[in-house]
């Protein structure tokens, strides 16, 4: 997985490419732990994300909890396999998906 960050003031766009799974989620978690300070507007661009497993959901849940306290978060361009996972796990009701 590659993580691409674009910071614009207090807005951060994180684009992921590849798989957000057991092996790669710790990488994203580390990244978020240092990158979310002061951010009011977080966007995950999942256009190039192939699939997400429960380990990835865990990190998204963490991000959502942080952003609920300091701003807002949304997910854009999620592909069908990723949307299916959000659907069956009830993440459709937790996340803002565009």
């Amino acid at each position: 997985m590659t993580i691409d960050k674009k910071l614009n003031g207090t807005s951060l766009v994180i684009a992921l490419e590849g798989r957000l799974d057991t092996m790669t989620s710790p990488q994203l978690e580390e990244e978020l732990k240092t990158s979310l300070e002061g951010i009011t507007d977080l966007t995950f661009d999942f256009e190039k994300l192939e699939y997400i497993s429960s380990a990835g959901l865990r990190v998204l849940l963490y991000a959502q909890k942080v952003m609920n306290k300091q701003g807002s978060m949304k997910v854009i361009h999620a592909s069908e396999p990723v949307l299916d996972v959000f659907d069956v796990t009830g993440f459709v009701d937790i996340l803002t998906i565009e």
């Binding site: 057991t22 192939e50 699939y51 909890k65 299916d84 069956v88 796990t89």
Partner: protein, 138 residues
Amino acid sequence: MTSLTVKAHISNLSMVQAALEEWLDTIGCPMKISLQLQMAVEELFVNVASYAYGEGEGDLTLTFDYEEELSLVRISFRDQGMPFNPAECLEKEEESTRLQVEDRGVGGLGILMVYKTADQVHYSYQDGWNILTLEKKL
């Protein structure tokens, strides 16, 4: 039929996934279903690696099978860890999908994802072996 026996350790996940992905390619599995099955196998592999043998070590055997006449993929998991029927977690995990974000804990979704992804999940415990089988039509 293809079978793969590895130490049930997280370091072997990449190998299992690589073998599964190639195998699914070989039988002509469409990308979308391939990704779904890789996700399901990841969840179950990680569970066996994390819980089945407690602090101890043990093996996990995966078998990949394709019934061409039915276009049916069958993937099974065999381990000699503690007896564990994932169906027993299902209801609790279904309930947790209705929780608000602040009430959600970490984890507890993998098994639900497996059941929702596969067409059939079958579990049995025989002679000290957990045997879990997923079926999915291509």
